[in-house]
């Protein structure tokens, strides 16, 4: 194994690729930026002060890939045929995962371009969101796969890079039962946690007396739930949606006796 950017005297040099055969080259890299759940929610809703965060970061990543040779000293200028930058909002981890793919028919690999695109897209996400969250952390930038060229194809071990799966054992029948009516004599609200949230919190259904809420709204219910069981702190982690009597609701939606309140993650049907 040798370092190709060093000559026999150990000095940096640019590899002469004139005699290398042209082949179709492709590389995919990814990374992530960790942020507060509130920041992620604001980003998802398009509420950032600087405007459309993801569209801007995507263009920044594509531009950066094209200019990699200006940033990394011994990289060749490459006529890339394709650059794509994609984002996945990960509520559970409260982060944005950035993936970039670069392609060309040429004599040298495009992994530096893909890694540069991911890095600059992450930096742009930071810039776009820093007004509301200065604690964001960029990390985990790595090459996922590359193909074409003499050194052969490379694929990072999928299991090593994938986040630990949410294992739940047996799968349910795909339905949530409609909760039991409030069986205590005092006015109360019925709460359900659905899908991933139910498994993350380990709680399916619960009833709370209405007068245990510091305020008779969804925000008050969250506070009371947290008082009742620390696991409900999870209601404030990641993007959690809420419906009152099966209609979408928010923190200030008022609650009355016998209301059904459901908390759930963003929907993924279709």
């Amino acid at each position: 194994m040798t370092l190709t950017h060093l000559n026999p005297r150990g000095e940096a040099h640019m590899v002469d690729v004139a005699d290398k055969a042209e082949s179709r080259r492709e590389a995919t890299a990814s990374g992530r930026i960790q942020m507060k759940p509130e920041t992620l929610a604001l980003l998802a809703e398009g509420g950032m002060p600087k405007g459309d965060v993801l569209a801007t970061a995507r263009i920044a990543g594509i531009q950066a890939a094209k200019r990699t040779h200006e940033l990394i000293p011994l990289c060749h200028a490459l006529p890339l045929s394709k650059v794509s930058v994609d984002f996945r909002l990960d509520e559970a981890a409260s982060s944005v995962e950035v993936t970039a793919t670069c392609r060309l028919n040429g004599r040298t690999g495009v992994e530096m371009e893909a890694l540069t695109a991911v890095s600059v897209a992450c930096l742009t996400l930071y810039d776009m969101c820093k007004a509301v969250d200065k604690d964001m952390e960029i990390g985990g930038i790595h090459l996922d796969a590359k193909s074409g060229g003499k050194s052969g194809d490379y694929r990072r071990d999928a299991l090593a890079s994938a986040p630990p799966p949410i294992v739940t054992g047996g799968s349910s029948a795909g339905e949530v039962s409609v909760g039991p009516r409030c069986d205590i004599a005092v006015p109360c609200v019925r709460v359900k946690c659905l899908a991933e949230l139910r498994e993350r919190l380990g709680i399916s259904e619960i009833s709370l007396p209405l007068d245990s809420l510091p305020s008779a709204d969804v925000g008050g219910l969250k506070a009371a739930l947290r008082q009742h069981d620390e696991r409900f702190a999870g209601l404030s982690e990641g993007r959690v949606l809420c419906a009152v009597n099966q209609v979408m609701a928010n923190e200030t939606t008022p609650l009355t006796n016998d209301d059904e309140v459901a908390f759930f993650p963003p929907v993924t049907g279709g």
Binding site: T168, A173, G174, E175, V176, G269
Partner: protein, 149 residues
């Protein structure tokens, strides 16, 4: 007509039933969504779809009503399955009939975009490397955003 069911459906039979005895319909567009064997991870063996009974039907009803207010439609069918499915199985069917093709194409596209971002369904995939809940996609929100102006 809106149905949420565990049983598989036959897209052809549903479309024929929608068109039976009608001669005023000039265009029908049908979309079927299927379970893929790869998604966030390779080797997806099965999928479990959870929903929120009651709210699901209401949300789909609202989406359909919105489509009917935007385009002149003459027939409509939305079927979404829940429970466990395997790759190749149909998940969702949207059939839209209209006098002319444009309304049918656009309304079908609209209903799927809104269904994916507004109806309370959640997918859990069972893959060779474990079970995981599918994350929402930014591109789905972008697609749904096309209809807001």
């Amino acid at each position: 007509m809106i149905r949420v069911q565990q049983a598989p459906f036959d897209a052809g039979a549903e479309q024929r039933a929608l068109l039976a005895g009608r001669s005023d319909i000039g265009a029908v567009v049908s979309f079927t969504g299927l379970v893929r064997d790869f998604n966030e991870r390779p080797e997806v063996n099965a999928l479990t779809l959870e929903h929120y009974p009651g709210m699901t039907e209401a949300a789909l009803g609202e989406i359909v009503a919105e489509a009917e207010s935007r385009w002149p439609l003459q027939g409509l069918r939305v079927i979404h399955r829940v429970g466990r499915m395997t790759p190749g199985d149909p998940i969702v069917l949207v059939v839209v009939a209209s006098a002319h093709r444009r309304a049918a194409f656009e309304a079908c596209d609209f209903i799927m975009d809104y269904l994916k971002t507004r109806a309370p369904f959640w997918k859990k995939e069972h893959s060779a490397s474990g079970d995981y809940w599918v994350a929402e996609r930014e591109s789905d929100h972008r697609d749904a955003g096309r209809w807001e102006s």
